[in-house]
Amino acid sequence: MIALLLRDLRLAVRAGGGFGLGLAFFLIVVVLVPFGVGSETAVLSRIAPGILWVAALLASLLTLDRVFALDYEDGALPLLLTAPLPAEGVTLVKALAHWMTSGLPLTLAAPVLGILLNIEPAAIMPLFLSLLIGTPALSMIGTFGAALTVGLRRGGLLLSLLVLPMYVPTLIFGAEAVARGAAELSMQVPLLLLAGLTAGSIALLPLAAAAALRVNLR
């Protein structure tokens, strides 16, 4: 399992900057939004936390098709599933690798990008916290979606269609936590809910994802 994690991280790095690209996408989305909505500071700082969360969602989404598709295409996936690793473990490790190359760097970068969008200083810490707690759920849910669509050639778009609605609760709690933090209210409730979501996903979704994988390789 550790070997698989290391391999996936190494592949992400070799494929050209694994950690960097998700970040770069995040950055670009954040830069594009002011071009779209105009540069009024008041508006921007009002929408900044929400936009950052949505951008994190999309950046996480964009890397999802790497999770299984590469291994499927070069034939490594059936070999992995016949190897002495539980399929649930494989999906969990894949989700972890995905989080380490997308969710984690995003979380670390978000405060800086927030400043670009004139985010209120009080919202920075809540943003960081909520991303830290919420992004693992995004990776796990996404891995489930990737397992569902792995048999389909370039299921990227279908994947987004399946995964984004499942991201809704995470997004709501995450954005809510930031909004409350910015308003200096207690963020405990949304953060707890977010943590519950993450824990629940990690506990249950590997089973569903492994089942989907097996069906797809049948």
Binding site: A3, L11, D74, G75, L81, T82, P84
Partner: protein, 204 residues
């Protein structure tokens, strides 16, 4: 070691083979023969546990099977050695250095697998079998893209390393490996039109 009885298997929801009975004893290989589309790949996938059998039983020593598919599962971005080291680790073993000599990979050891020629890549794919230490191998057209020297190399590996150590191999191939192994011709086992088990049977 491997005992199959009354096996039937299906692909795309249709039975393709039925009534297969065979056993392979330690140290023995079995060569699967049959025209394109008869169901060799299907049979091997079923044996390897990737798809359920329609009928019949498969007995294999537990935790001894390994599958070698048509595609190699080689990662282009990793070097030859890293690829092998990964598979060894997945199977909980150390990388056995003799494998580089066995498959003539020593000079390519530090090359990224993506820059190998098709035959070299295939050799790397086969070398995986040498590092995972499994006794029961299911191999689907292992010699594709290999030149005659490499085919001989692979046959020698099978004979001297794998079978000699009491391993078993079931190999689908269209060419002659030069192994002294029984051949199972699959054509007689083609599923009849009336075979049970099609997934859409209930609709007829």
């Amino acid at each position: 070691m491997l005992r199959v009885s009354g096996l039937a298997c299906a692909r795309g929801g249709m039975p393709v083979l039925e009534g297969l009975d065979f056993a392979v004893e330690p140290g023995q290989a079995l060569v699967l023969r049959g025209p394109n589309g008869i169901g060799k790949t299907t049979l091997l996938r079923t044996l390897a546990g990737l798809q359920p059998a329609l009928a019949g039983t498969i007995e294999i020593d537990p935790d001894q099977a390994a599958y070698g598919s048509h595609a190699d599962g080689v990662k282009d971005a990793l070097t030859v050695e890293e690829n092998l080291r990964f598979w060894a680790a997945v199977y909980g073993r150390d990388l056995d250095q003799t494998v580089f000599a066995d498959f003539d990979l020593a000079p390519l050891r530090r090359r990224a697998a993506g820059t190998l020629s098709s035959g070299q890549k295939r050799r790397l794919g086969l070398a995986r079998l040498g590092v995972i230490g499994r006794k029961v191998l299911f191999l689907d057209e292992p010699t594709i893209s290999l030149d005659t020297a490499s085919v001989a190399l692979f046959a020698r590996f099978l004979r001297d390393r794998h079978l000699a150590a009491g391993g078993v191999a079931v190999i689908a191939t269209h060419i002659d490996l030069g192994l002294d192994a029984p051949v199972l011709e699959l054509a007689p086992f083609r599923a009849s039109a009336s075979a049970k088990g099609a997934s859409d049977e209930a609709f007829l």
